[in-house]
Amino acid sequence: MKRSEALIEIDNIHKSFGNFEVLKGISLSVNEGEAVCIIGPSGSGKSTVLRCINGLLPIDEGYIRVGKHRVHELRSEKEMRPLRHQVSMVFQQYNLFPHKTALENIMMAPIQVLGHERAEVEDRARKLLEKVRLGNKADSYPGMLSGGQQQRVAIARALAMQPEIILFDEVTAALDPETVKEVLLTIRELVDDGLTCILVTHEMKFAREVADRVCFTDRGLIVENAPPAELFDTPQDPRTREFLGQVL
């Protein structure tokens, strides 16, 4: 069943939108407790990879295993549910539910999807709000919070599912420079706690500091995959060098 001991195993996945091939054979494996950053130019398929990992997008070809789930074989939303429990996702635009308070946003899915008991979930949710330093914003609606605060609520919402893996998709890209720091701090704590994370990011300094490995993607391929010191200091591929030259 498993091809390796890795927690996440992606082998040669292809994905097209119409005639446009976005992923042209991506392979990647992530071990438990590892933090892997994905960097690369916009449009190179980073978000698409994350969406394929938790089954939000079906792939055309290839193999994806997350824990015991063979994602490419799951067909219905119902079959996906255990996977969604194991893998949470945090988005660039926070994607909070505007009609629910911060606390309710965090509590909804554990109660409604996982069927956990309300009192226990509320307790968990309040602790998570404390953890992301928003204990005093429990009753605020997303529209009343700043971008950075919304993003931290979104992280708490993802954590409330008690996932083994969190996927972060450019979660600081829409934030003001001042609030980026507080969100990165929260993520860094999660990585330090040993949560398995895949982070798509434009924050090179952050990637260098927290990642165990960094992948550079370009036009639907992982061009280079190495520990951060190696990838940033001695990039092997000319495309990596060119990209780093532009962003650093």
């Binding site: 939303e77 996702m89 988005f91 994607n95 909070l96 539910f97 505007p98 009609h99 999807v113 009343m144």
Partner: protein, 238 residues
């Protein structure tokens, strides 16, 4: 005053007709509004599934009920449903009677008319749903059905509440057409009273005032609901 004679209003028989009429009008409006809203939600859900034949079916339903006079729809419902021969036996008298009363026929026809309008409203509400919200729901493991009821309906109904208010007031006024198929609602009793008293103008003025009051209460209630459901800060950014 102005030569208007309201002395008939002192007659307890007419008073009770008016009260019964108002109650029946309210019942008819409440029932058909509720069913219309449900039809609107389910129709919009159906359209969002993007199944070819279902789309076609719902579109046809909307076109037919939106583009024909509601009075015709009501007469049509009354004469077709009552000639279907669905009968039941009255447990008290033992007599055969039609299963669907005039009231039921009116209710069905008004629900379908309002439902067709509500589908349009909910559809446009759902169309403004950011894709990001749907995706967040999916990533948290919500099924299509749960996402619809717990996330999309609460957000979309806030967006389409103003058009829903229009539809419901429109539907409320349209209940008066049920008098044509002998449903004893307010308009029906109005006719009964002026046939009796020949005080047509006086009765009409009174009925007019009653409708104005009832519809005003409805739209006031809806505007309070709108204020209550407003999402702080939502829709201002991006």
């Amino acid at each position: 005053m102005f030569g208007l004679d309201y002395s008939w209003l002192a007659d307890p028989a007419y008073q009770s007709w008016l009260v019964t009429g108002v109650i029946n009008t309210l019942e008819l409006a409440a029932l058909s509004s509720s069913v219309a809203i449900l039809i609107g939600m389910l129709g919009a859900l159906g359209l969002s599934l993007r199944v070819f034949w279902l789309d076609a079916l719902i579109e046809l339903f909307v076109e037919v009920f939106r583009n024909t006079p509601p009075l015709l729809q009501m007469l049509f419902a009354y004469f077709t449903l009552s000639t279907l021969g669905l009968e039941t036996t009255d447990p008290v008298t033992g007599l055969k009677m039609p299963l669907l009363s005039a009231f039921a026929c009116a209710c069905i026809s008004l629900s379908l008319f309002g439902g067709a309008l509500a589908i349009e409203a909910f559809r446009s509400g759902l169309e403004t749903m950011p894709k990001a919200i749907t995706e967040a729901g999916r990533s948290l493991g919500y099924s299509r059905w749960a996402r619809f009821w717990r996330i999309e309906v609460p957000i979309a109904s806030r967006v389409c509440l103003p058009s829903l208010t229009n539809i419901l007031t429109n539907l409320f006024k349209t209940t008066s057409q049920a008098s044509v198929i002998t449903v004893p609602e307010l308009m029906y009793y109005a006719g009964q009273i002026y046939n009796d008293t020949f005080r047509t103008l006086e009765v009409m003025i009174l009925i007019l005032i009653i409708y104005v009051v009832l519809v005003s209460i409805l739209s006031y209630g809806m505007s309070r609901l709108e204020a209550y459901l407003t999402l702080p800060g939502y829709g201002k950014e991006q």
